[in-house]
């Protein structure tokens, strides 16, 4: 789990599955990420092949908290196999989801214009 800071965008990249073992760490990392970032946040799940329901909770909570603080959290890397779970929980109805990191970055760049 590492944070990359770019000019207008902060990215939290996850490189492992999110299971009961590291769920708490994910929650804490997300909390820090939300606090320390500017206003455009991307959660990059391109290298994640599995996340459990608690992980989904952390993401939904992250999106809500970001909005409350005038920031925006989007998720990138929504491709198989995790696209299925995101399709079922319909998170796209309250937050932006992108298949690739590039598309997520483009979204913020276009918003800035």
């Amino acid at each position: 789990m590492k944070v990359i800071k770019k000019a207008l965008i902060d990215i939290l990249a996850i490189n492992e599955e999110i299971t009961i073992k590291n769920n708490e760490q994910f929650r804490i990392t997300m909390g820090k990420f939300l606090n320390e970032s500017e206003s455009n946040l991307i959660l990059d799940l391109s290298h994640v092949s599995y996340l459990n329901s608690s992980g989904l909770g952390v993401i939904a909570d992250g999106a809500m908290k970001a909005r409350k603080n005038g920031k925006e959290l989007v998720v990138a890397g929504i491709t198989p196999p995790i696209d299925e779970i995101f399709e079922i929980v319909k998170f796209n109805t309250f937050m932006e989801l992108f298949p690739s990191l590039d598309q997520a970055e483009n979204y913020f760049e276009q918003k800035a214009q």
Binding site: S53, S54, L56, G57, M64, I88, V89
Partner: protein, 441 residues
């Protein structure tokens, strides 16, 4: 440790002194003989000089020996002092240790004990074989372990001993062989009293067993009428979990079925699910309309658990109402795995059409309606079942559920589950729920 020289300086001194006295005696006797028998003066003088030199040398030698002896004595005393200090430190550690510690000899007889041992076992310990302490001699591994220890192997194990009141004491112990010159000379045993920990574990286990029974007991009994038959199975991952399902007869031609899965598992998920369950009968039987039922559940969940907590709580749910007069099925699926409506000729998937409940403050779900043929089966389940069949490909798992139900339509939910779970490794990581509603007109 340096070995102290056996033949100390004082022995040499003693020998030399004796030799000196004998030599003096000899010289004196010889001199007096020679004087009496007339010896010339020069000879006498050179004799005296030689004697003087000899005495001087001897004197120096004796002083040197004394000095060496003293040095050795000082060294010896210093070593003895260190040894005493070391022994005192180690003994203090041994005797006052919070763990039980004792020493046994090669025959298994206890030769030393620390204060803790005497507190727990009383005073009649030293001199007895350690097997007298065992609570269940027949099932004890300690006698076997001791044989390994005698071979020089350190052993970690557990044991139950009998304390001075006859009560069992659970121990985690380490038996360390004392090896001197390559041979084992008894062993030191250090033991941690884990009785309280064990008792707490037992209490928690009992609590959990009660909670498990409670959770199973609130599940709806099979509902059987002329037109419908509803029944299900719940297999929690660790005795207790966050899955729940209910079914109720709303009117003589309407039946409501709801399955839900609280995020996470274990006791906390069970608490949430039991709390939500309390609302379900009233909502399904009185409120009835799927949109209102789901909106109410969402509002309740969001408010109750998410106004104050740090981490988000939510649950997925699939609620369906079957109308056997109008022959249709109305449903809302809030983030839950798809339900299956199996009718002659085709199977429909009741896919998710709403976010899980509790995340958003307000939701506006829409219900979907499907027509019912004369005979239909509604199959609902939680993702624990799918993960058990295939951890990665959900679609494959759903397909397998469908095929198994189709191939065994006479079997009830228990029978179908047995088949579905047969070849899976039962590392049940998630709760499994399975519900079957058969409509036949």
């Amino acid at each position: 440790m340096k070995q102290i020289n056996r033949l100390s300086g004082s022995k040499w001194i003693g020998i030399l002194l004796v030799a000196y006295v004998i030599m003096e005696l000899f010289i004196f006797l010889r001199l007096s003989y020679r004087l009496r028998s007339g010896m010339d003066i020069h000879r006498f003088e050179s004799y005296q000089t030689m004697s003087f030199l000899l005495h001087l040398l001897l004197g120096i030698f004796i002083v040197w020996l004394f000095w060496k002896e003293r040095k050795e004595t000082i060294q010896k005393n210093a070593l003895l002092f260190d040894l005493e200090q070391l022994t005192l430190r180690h003994f203090t550690l041994f005797d006052n240790n919070l763990y039980l510690a004792l020493v046994v000899n090669n025959d298994g007889i206890i030769t030393e004990t620390n204060k803790r041992v005497n507190d727990v076992l009383g005073d009649k310990v030293i001199g007895f074989h350690f097997e007298h302490l065992l609570y269940h001699k027949e099932t004890s591994k300690s006698l076997e372990n001791f044989e390994d220890v005698l071979e020089g192997i350190m052993v970690d194990s557990t044991e139950i001993i009998r304390d001075k009141h006859g009560n069992p004491v659970y121990l985690e112990y380490k038996s360390i062989p004392i090896v001197i010159d390559g041979k084992t000379n008894g062993a030191c045993v250090i033991a941690k009293d884990i009785t309280e920990k064990k008792k707490m574990e037992e209490d928690m286990k009992k609590d959990l067993e009660l909670a498990t029974i409670l959770q199973q007991s609130v599940l709806c009994k099979p509902l059987v009428t002329e037109t419908v038959h509803i029944e299900g199975q719940y297999i929690p991952a660790n005795n207790i979990g966050g899955d729940m399902y209910v079914w109720y007869k709303i009117s003589d031609h309407q039946y409501g079925v709801l399955i839900m899965d609280v995020m996470g598992h274990g006791v906390s998920a069970a608490l949430v699910s039991m709390s939500i369950r309390a609302l379900l009968e009233g909502l399904i039987v009185r409120v009835q309309d799927p949109v209102l039922v789901i909106e109410t559940l969402n509002a309740h969940m969001h408010k109750l658990f998410n106004d104050h907590t740090n981490s988000l709580q939510f649950f997925t749910a699939l609620y369906a109402v079957a109308d056997t007069k109008d022959m249709n099925l109305t449903y809302i699926n809030a983030g839950h795995p798809p339900g299956l409506l199996i009718q002659t000729g085709k199977t429909e998937h009741l896919n998710s059409n709403c976010v899980p409940l509790g995340i958003l403050e307000e939701i506006k779900p829409t219900a979907e309606k499907l027509p019912l043929k004369d005979s239909a089966q509604l199959i609902l389940f939680t993702d624990g079942l799918l993960e058990n069949i295939s951890i990665s490909a959900m679609n494959t798992a759903v397909h397998q559920v469908k095929e198994t139900v189709l191939a065994n339509s006479n079997l009830d939910s228990q029978g179908v589950l047995q088949i579905l779970l047969k070849d899976t490794e039962t590392n049940k990581q998630d709760d499994i729920s399975f519900l079957k509603m058969v409509i036949s007109k």
